[in-house]
């Protein structure tokens, strides 16, 4: 089985006795409130999704990630996982302190062992991670809204947050045992934030031809207005798998994490995460983790050249489309016919039909999938 990133799956979840001990002292300890995205980061650190990270980045790791897309031990790591607080909050905290991190409903989520607090340059962070300072980029806009001081240090999870998608939430340890149990020696990960059309299915099945199983891993969490709602994505994939995949060859598991829309850097990040789940391969398509026209269409594939030590193998795909002459899904390498014979898998076009309650043609989307989507009063994020 593929090694976790850095060689060891991190688990920083407090056992019952440790949990009781910290909760007894919780009222005397300083506390900080976390928003939903930071809670996801904390849980992903604690459950090993972000292995080898054991906490929020300290300054030297932060600078290395920003400048070299690697941790200080040379391990690939392209996205800074950081915890931002206001200056006046940071002033009250001392290095060496235990800090209770509070989630929704004032519940203690985790404990942070504060190792350092440091200032940073938001514009530099935005420009290096997103390759732009343009505030119309959602990732940049979020960085510009971040608080002034970063806190670094290991964390321990006290309590996992509740999710309506509990049935689909597995930790890397669990997916690794699942793959072993299924006898999958090679597993291809598919990152998604959309409902599946025929183009997606074609890419997945092409990759599945060369591997033992497919790990469909939709990102659940804050999305942009107009994106499909989480429950719609999950239900539509369930329907697709039920009707058109071999049950023993496909699994769907959620990843609770915010999309950062960092294009190439995020593609590497997504690969690392799937490696931790036990995937040996990952599908990287056109404009992976991109937004608008901020990244060249295949930048997220080209960047893998810089990471020969990732260990997970990327499978690169060009755009697919339906060819009326071939009467099948094709790409530029497989079809000799001119563009006038092609029908693109336009997300916008499919979306318009679904909004009008129309089932898109079967060469664009499986009718069973379309029916599931149309069955929702409003399948989109408002």
């Amino acid at each position: 089985m593929i090694r976790p990133h850095g060689g060891k799956l991190i688990e920083r979840i407090l056992r019952q006795k440790e949990k009781e001990s910290i909760l007894e002292r919780a009222e005397e300890l300083p506390s900080l409130k976390l928003d939903g995205e930071l809670i996801s980061d904390v849980e992903n650190i604690a459950c090993g999704v972000f292995s080898p990270l054991e906490g929020f980045l300290g300054q030297s790791e932060y600078r290395n990630v920003l400048n070299h897309m690697r941790l200080t031990n040379d391990l690939p790591w392209p996205i800074p996982i950081v915890f931002d607080v206001r200056e006046e909050e940071a002033e009250k905290l001392r290095e060496g302190q235990e800090i209770i991190l509070i989630g929704e409903g004032e519940k203690p989520v985790a404990v942070l062992y504060l190792e350092e607090k440091y200032e940073y340059d938001k514009e530099e962070l935005a420009e290096k991670v997103f390759q732009t300072k343009d505030a119309s980029h959602p990732g940049v806009a979020k960085v510009l809204r971040m608080k002034e001081v970063l806190l670094g240090g290991k964390i321990d999870l006290i309590q996992e947050s509740a999710t309506p998608f509990y049935r689909y939430k597995l930790k890397p340890l669990e997916t690794r045992i699942l793959f072993k149990e299924k006898g999958w020696r090679t597993v291809v990960g598919f990152q998604t934030r959309n409902t599946p059309h025929i183009g997606h299915e074609y890419v997945q099945k092409t990759a599945l031809t060369f591997t033992d199983g497919i790990f469909v891993n939709p990102v659940i969490g804050r999305k942009k207005k107009g994106d499909f709602k989480d429950e719609v994505i999950i239900a539509s994939y369930e329907e697709l798998i039920r009707n058109y995949y071999l049950k023993e060859r496909a699994v769907i598991v959620i990843l609770q994490m915010e999309m950062r829309y960092a294009g190439p850097r995020e593609a590497i990040f997504h690969a690392i995460i799937r490696k931790n789940f036990g995937c040996t391969h990952i599908i990287i398509g056109r404009d992976h983790a991109g937004v608008g026209n901020f990244y060249p269409p295949y930048a997220a594939q080209d960047i893998f050249e810089e990471f020969p030590d990732l260990e997970i193998m990327p499978l690169f795909f060009k755009s697919f489309y339906f060819c009326k002459k071939c009467d099948s899904v094709v790409n530029e390498k497989t079809c000799p016919h001119p563009p006038s014979d092609h029908i693109n898998f336009s997300g916008t076009k499919i979306r318009e039909m679904l909004i009008q309650g129309k089932i898109p043609p079967s060469e664009l989307m499986r009718p069973e999938v379309a029916k599931i989507i149309i069955g929702y009063d409003n399948p989109f994020v408002e």
């Binding site: 090694r3 976790p4 060891k8 045992i177 699942l178 072993k180 699994v251 080209d302 810089e306 030590d309």
Partner: protein, 71 residues
Amino acid sequence: MNKEYTNIMIPTSLYKRIEEKIKGSKVKSVPDFITKVLRETLSKEQVSTEEFSKEDEEKVKERLKALGYID
């Protein structure tokens, strides 16, 4: 000198061969090429192991069964 980098010595003839090899390629410099090759080589030497105990495995299998992932 930048502390993030260090010097190594390689035969001049090898350096020249690498210079020739990377001409017209995406690799920008000889140090970039050597860094890439070394990282690739080192990562291949890592041994793959199972990182979970029998006890973990049994517990997880129960959950996977309950969730319908395995029969």
